[in-house]
């Protein structure tokens, strides 16, 4: 078996072959999926593009359509409508060609339990036409890279969830895919295993691999992704860098202030006075007095427009004018979860 598939022959872990030229790793246009007998579409016309070398995050709650999208892109689910292209290959028209250029790390352990860890890697490569010499070399390199080199002959069943996850990533990389799909990779992992996984994904990005990742963890999406698509009920609600998504949440910028009344002050009347005075400041949208469990002072949450930090001085002045003292200020920065809540009206979990 010396005549090998083009591209696969010279593959090595750091050598990501350029199949499907152009700047796009994934191109999805108006993708629709309706499962048989389902009352509504699981995907209702989703469109997006992923650049080569990008880490692209899919953020959404369970059942949002993330896995369906990944399923279609990885040729396991047939779309009802629309077009999906991975590394230049139309997944519906040429699923076999698409499977050459993509790698999949599924949600659930699907390792070959009859084979050793190393054999899982080498047999996977043999399915993809990687010649024997290169696949042995690559398997050793990837086992090393993923911290699995000490027990290459162990069976997958004898390893922890985090190690299984790493094995599945290492296996997916054995045929040097142009695009790697990870479906909720950190679900069920302990914090240390999760951090290791994040490091590995950052390394893959540095090596030039395009990574598409689904998650319902906003930290994961924000930390790993160059861009994040927020998806719910089969529709794409927003798509941008995590920074831009968050920056769009101007209404979520807040100052949390704690105020102590002066020696002669009365907390109830001070609350009323400050509520009016703070609300009169230019740029303040709303002022809410919050019940403070500690009871040391009064707490206000002030919703502001623009940079929250620029409101610290005016707020301090207003408080001093009212004969009270500002003891604590916290600037509330919105995060992706706030974006999600803003878009869907629901929390992620």
């Amino acid at each position: 078996m010396s005549n090998v598939a083009p591209g696969a022959s010279t593959a090595s872990p750091s050598d990501h072959r350029p199949v499907g030229h152009g700047s796009l790793a994934v191109e999805v246009h108006d993708l629709v999926k309706r499962y048989p007998k389902a009352p509504v579409d699981s995907l209702a016309g989703v469109s997006f593009k992923v650049e080569r070398g990008e880490v692209f995050g899919f953020l959404g709650p369970n059942g949002a359509g993330k896995s369906t999208t990944i399923g279609i892109l990885t040729t396991r689910i047939r779309s009802t409508g629309g077009r999906a292209v991975v590394a230049g290959v139309d997944v519906a028209a040429d699923p076999v060609g698409a499977r050459r250029v993509l790698g999949v790390v599924p949600q659930q352990n699907n390792l070959d339990r009859s084979l050793s860890v190393r054999q899982n890697l080498t047999y996977h490569a043999s399915y993809h036409g990687v010649p024997r010499a290169s696949r042995n070399q690559m398997a050793d390199a990837l086992l090393e890279q993923f911290g699995l080199a000490d027990r290459p002959n162990g069976r997958p069943d004898d390893f922890s969830g985090g190690q299984i996850q790493r094995m599945m990533i290492a296996r997916a990389l054995m045929h040097a895919p142009s695009v790697l799909f990870l479906d909720e990779p950190s679900t069920g992992l302990d914090p240390a295993a999760r951090l290791f996984l994040w490091e590995k994904i950052a390394e893959l990005k540095a090596a030039g691999t395009t990574v598409v990742i689904t998650t319902h963890d906003m930290d994961e999406a924000a930390t790993l992704s160059d861009r994040v698509a927020i998806i719910d009920h089969g529709a794409l609600l927003a798509l941008d860098t995590p920074e831009q998504l968050v920056r769009g949440m101007q209404s979520q910028r807040t100052l949390d202030c704690t105020v102590e009344p002066g020696p002669t002050g009365d907390a109830t009347s001070l609350g009323l006075v400050l509520g009016v005075a703070l609300g009169a400041l230019v740029g303040v949208r709303a002022v809410d007095q919050i019940d403070d469990a500690s009871g040391v002072g009064l707490r206000f949450r002030i919703d502001v427009e623009g940079e929250a930090a620029s409101f610290v001085a005016p707020v301090a002045t207003v408080v001093a004018d009212a004969g009270a003292r500002l003891t604590d200020v916290r600037l509330g920065e919105p995060n992706l979860e706030d974006v999600f809540i803003h878009l869907t009206g629901r929390a992620l979990r």
Binding site: P6, T75, I77, V96, G97, R99, V104, N110, L195, T223
Partner: protein, 285 residues
């Protein structure tokens, strides 16, 4: 939190895309074929590593049938002397069909539901249908080996087995056909039966399959029991038993050998079409 640096860049600019080419050259045409062979090699490797266990698994039942029906009953005088020759080809057929069936049905049920192991193969660069074909081919190899092993066991237990060199090739062909028929039946069972029903289905399917497949008696002799003869005619295994019997013991009344090949092949086509439909339904949603 000490996490890897969150690589945040602005939205990628739209670069000028060069022409998209997914042509993979002439070698790619052989790609799926080579992938299929690699998957088969994996299955053979795993079976080869546990060959004694595999043999014990497939031999035990026919071994006891051969011993009790062929040896014990004849020695005790409950069966006629020539019965061994009638029984042996039938048990070869039984070994081929049953082993083929069990080698696809059970693994498929497990791989599609509990272990998901098949996913790595479904994501390999070959058509989904080819994964099913590989399963059938591999199961048929197991079925054929099981049938083949019946010959030395037959010699050992019965002292001699009916065998004519002139029909050797035809016998081997019929054994292959029987193994493929069993594997194709297993493909249907393994893809249509939900995992929580596999136990009851095996009980409901295997027993009738074993006892209406004419492995212990020639089909023409059932003319006294017309309804059972009609039922047996629907069992694909009947044509394997009868075909082997006709080739190995031509003096015993049997269904014409050519008819066994024709009906067996026709059954194989139908079972494969249905099984492939079931496999595709499970593999793609």
């Amino acid at each position: 939190m000490t996490v890897p640096s969150g690589p945040v860049t602005s939205s990628p600019s739209a670069a000028q895309p060069p022409p998209v080419t997914s042509s993979l050259g002439p070698a790619a045409r052989w790609g799926p074929w080579r992938t299929g062979m690699a998957i088969l090699r994996r299955d053979l490797f795993v079976t080869g590593r546990e060959f004694p266990i595999f043999l014990a698994q497939v031999i035990l039942q026919p071994l006891f049938l051969l011993f009790v029906f062929g040896k014990v009953l004849t020695e005790l005088g409950y069966a006629q002397a020539g019965y061994q020759d009638v029984l042996f080809p039938g048990l070869v057929a039984l070994a081929a069909v049953l082993t083929g069936l069990q080698s696809t049905a059970l693994p498929l049920v497990i791989e599609f539901s509990y272990s998901n192991e098949i996913e790595d193969r479904l994501l390999a660069p070959l058509p989904v249908g080819a994964v099913a074909v590989e399963k059938v081919v591999f199961a048929a190899i197991r079925g054929f080996v099981a049938a083949l092993v019946m010959f030395p066991i037959g010699v050992w237990i019965l002292g001699s087995i009916p065998w004519q060199a002139s029909t050797g090739v035809a016998v081997v062909t019929m054994m292959v056909l029987g193994s493929l028929l069993g594997a194709a039946m297993g493909l249907i069972l393994g893809t249509f039966v939900p995992p929580n029903r596999i136990n009851v289905t095996f009980a409901l399917v295997l027993t009738p399959l074993i006892f209406t497949g004419c492995s212990q008696y020639p089909w023409p002799s059932l003319s006294h029991l017309r309804w059972f003869q009609v039922v047996s005619a629907f069992n694909p295994m009947t044509y394997v038993s009868e075909g082997l019997r006709g080739l190995m013991v031509p003096t015993v009344p049997h269904i014409a050998t050519w008819a066994c090949f024709v009906v067996g092949t026709a059954y194989l086509v139908v079972l494969m079409v249905v099984g492939m439909y079931g496999f595709n339904r499970r593999a793609l949603s």
